[in-house]
Symmetry: D3
């Protein structure tokens, strides 16, 4: 199967660049089941990183264009490569192939590992947004906490030792003070640091790499012949009434 | 005080046109407290009407640009003129003046009128989205039901008698079968038909005009010197760190 | 419009006296929209202050008599002047004009300012009662905490500096430890100290003056031609069946 | 042990009269464990029956006076003889002996009989009030429904066959449509008709006589040496601070 | 009435032995209402104590055999003598006499004593299980906390002074930090130490002896002629279809 | 990887027999990703089918023995082959390899397909049990309904056309009346009829084969190097304290 991992912003033009995209593509292909081919594709219009509701809103229209093109190009599923799952509902309206978001995928996987989950996020200002995503995934009851590390997305890879240390320290608070049984990396750059095993060993609870979780979720759906429900994410009414996709976009 | 009612799409270019914008502006000014001046402003980039998550996503970036301009131009508050409250959180991040959404305003007002509320919406496909907005407003526990009338936004004004009849019929089901104590018009075009009194008389429960509710909410906040909390809707981190607004927008 | 602010106890005879009533009336009229006239009216039978369920129960029958008289005297709305909203449901059964309670009004307004709210109350023993009121308002999900200042109602005005200091200290705990985005003054005497701006500046989150919030809520309802739903707060069955109001009161 | 069953209104002066009080006293003593003596005492000030929030508010102050007198007179516990549990919280503040309410007692007993419960109430207008009591008891999650029979309290005993028939018909809807596993009689006059076994046989689910449930609850607490928590229902602050009970009552 | 207190394991063969069983039987009979006779019966197949889901699962089949035999032998009700209520649902399927579990009985009784409850349990690893039982009882909303004392079941009686001290210390944290109004002993051996009064005096909140609570619950049900609902706990379908009990047990 | 699918009862000795076990094994291997080998293993002690809490309790001890043996024999994960997930928590306490239950796996997968889910179960008497499992999985908020088909487990394969018809009829009610976006087959024999595509086409919403879902869940966990959290499912305390497994089992 062919899976598109769509980065909702122009990563190839930004500080991480094409090299990081290729590194992530290699990791995803290494994590995949035999027979899966993953392509990492970025979106040319959008912010350098997504750390606010505004930046999230900015990236959605162009990201959905890319996801629609992926479906036309024969991909079997798409992953939205940001832990805020930007545009997940809108993308599902316009596709029939599965579209998954790493936050939803990780939360639902983590829910099977224990009673209470915690998310390691970037900033305090993103805690409420993560709580909303837990509600949308249906597992808010299992959310023990969302704790911020305070390291901006674009700085996570600059000092990996400091990042590792801060992640372990924050994760330990989730386990000890919030009774978390499992941990989520609440940012794709965190996940692609591939520190889940180290963090898990350090704090005594499983930690979920969101890139792996989204990939396995997509592979599971394709393998089972399933996709999101069109009663939940219906094609927009104007299109159901026979108008073209273009008619949706402008008055 | 000066309040901007921002229509998140190019209404002046669409089927309703400038005339309908002016009619709504006149109504809003008639509903306002003495001393309030309301301007209706549309957004030149966006869909003709918003009936899906995709159309909602499409309108947000340009709508926020207009709201930010309104703040710079000295408006005291802005109303996002769509019952899906598109971009409410993102707009609040970038402003200090109050920005209100008619859905949130109506839900919180309705919550003071009785134990259970129902929303009259456009299509079945919009029920789940309205339920999510009730959760975000904090009053999901009071939501009795969301029921669709099945009349597309752009057709609501074409046959007013049929629209009135369908609204009353649907509202009656909310009261009788779902135990609703109060009703919300879940679309601004419904609200600007100004049928709240007729529907209310017909079904024996108060009905809330969302345009009025958002206006009163904005007037209340300005009058009290209040605005949304910046701990809840903080300025994006890059700007707090000293980067310009433009730096947010592109990689 | 004419609004009655009904103090549910004999304030004019108590330690605060007629002077304080007049001061509050002046403040309310200063806060009102143009065209609103507010009268502060106390109830001659009842406790000196309300700090328990028992004192609340004591004040209700006579308070409702006054509210009913206000409606007969042509007032457009009534505010029950105590943050416990004593008798709110019963008063709504017997009136058609809007009757609002400052706690409900403040909670629903605060719900539009952020994700999580905290109430500053008088005693630890009043925390559970405030939580129940948040449930009744429908916004318990948004309640971050209720924290007591420990200063009795009748002492709040004796040492304003100490009161201000204690309010700021308690509010800061709500923001830092409980993640509150907005604060409520959980007592009318606290609100009429008019310290919202000072507390808000000190802790970095909006604080809501409950007197203002109730006033704006009443003005909004009257201005919109709305009142509480009679399906939610119906006239007592004996009266609906044709018996007189007097027949309700004695066997 | 001696238990006071306090009717919160002047039953001896009303249509049911002293004879009905004596009949209820005999039933309660017949239901009691060996060694328990129950006295039925009415309250001379209050409404003929309680079918609204207003009538409930009316009865509370005098009812609490009677309950306090009962404690001084050596009773071991009191039952508030109305299914709305009027004044339960206030009475607990002023007593150390157990005070129980039939609604709370019945709900907590019913919660041990199955997954879902239904309450048979008097009027549609009382449904929301019963739901609030289920929330206060802590078992709202188990409430399947509250259904009204439509027979006023004072008419329940006039045509017992019709009452029985209506109760069975309503209970059957609770079991079949709402999946109730157990039924509560939501009015003391219903309970003292002593129809639990008949209704239960007819619909195939246990039905709880609220008079028996409250009695057993009181006997249990006295027998175990338990009473309500004074952290939950503390003595009013003015009394804790050394003022007399009388000081609470007037300004 | 005759009540069987069934210990779900071979206590007579274990470290506590027959002497402890007889001591518990004497206590239960001393706590009972006049006319109640309690027999303590252990189950010959099962673990020495129950501190995990696995040990709980181990004891259930044989415990249900004993409970069924008790019903055939003319007992009026059975108590499952472990605070995890092992096998409660299964036992109710196979009996018509009441079967009660001390955890459910205690939680529902405690719910009538205050707003928030805490359970004192054995190990941290048992917290999530206790939370699940609170959900099943329907009162999770009232659960303030579950705190572990860290003393294994079989060690509780070895050093009673240390146990008392640890219980008081843990209970005090529940009251002060978690706002508990009432406390539950989350283990039968804790309850049979009969320390409720001491703990209650020390921390200022009622503490519930789970053995007493289960006994009173059973006595209440028998006295009222009630038992669990057979719609909630139906006889297994194969038996309803006419097969024998033995046919259930093997393929 | 090697996965054990453990049937919690003696299927090879029962009416379905070894042939059906082999058919299921072939299906599971056909559904698996390349490189996965699935073995179907039954448990020699237990009921013929599981349709009650009692039958569930009966099968658990022997099923856990088999799962523990599987781990010793080098399997990488185990699936408990019953939709009630019997013994899931206990098995996780005693293993470090992943143990999954088809109900939990299906619920969490379905939660990613839409807003509301429905489970097709065997008997009305199993509805409450399925609701409890949805609570344990953390997704009760998404459960639209559990509806019974009324066909006993052992009859499902006798008349496949009738089973298919009944499943489609029941699924259609879930979609139309309960607003389900996705459907679960609430019994493994239902799932192994492999009718998901037919049911899905007939009702217009995805249907989840629980056997496939559990398999993909197990493959995902093994592939990611994850297993259940040992803080959530700790080894029993006696073993942590150094006693042998055998010491757990008898007094």
């Amino acid at each position: 199967m062919r899976i598109a991992y769509v980065v909702p912003g122009p990563m190839s033009k930004g500080p991480m660049g094409l090299k990081e995209m290729k590194r992530r593509e290699a990791l995803l292909n290494a994590w995949a089941f035999a027979g899966t081919e993953v392509s990492v594709i970025d979106v040319m219009d959008g912010p350098a990183s997504i750390e606010s509701a505004y930046e999230e809103a900015l990236c959605i229209p162009a990201t959905i264009d890319v996801i629609m093109r992926c479906e036309r190009d024969g991909f079997d599923a798409a992953i939205i490569g940001c832990f805020g799952d930007p545009g997940l509902e809108a993308a599902r309206e316009l596709t029939t192939m599965p579209v998954v978001g790493p936050c939803e995928s990780s939360l639902l996987l983590a829910a099977s590992l224990g009673h209470k989950l915690s998310v390691l996020t970037i900033f305090e200002s993103m805690v409420a947004g993560q709580e909303l995503l837990a509600y949308r995934a249906g597992v808010l009851e299992k959310l023990a906490s969302v704790r911020a590390t305070g390291i901006p997305v674009l700085d996570l890879m600059k000092n990996p030792d400091q990042t590792r240390e801060k992640l372990i320290e924050t994760a330990a608070l989730c386990v000890k003070q919030d009774r978390a049984d499992a941990l989520l990396f609440g940012c794709m750059t965190m996940s692609f640091l591939d520190l889940a095993d180290e963090v898990s060993s350090a704090v005594g609870a499983p930690a979920i790499n969101a890139g792996k979780a989204a990939l396995k979720h997509a592979e599971t759906l394709v393998s089972m012949g399933l996709s999101h429900s069109k009663t939940a994410y219906p094609m927009p009414a104007k299109m159901r009434a026979g108008q073209s996709f273009e008619a949706l976009r402008v008055a």
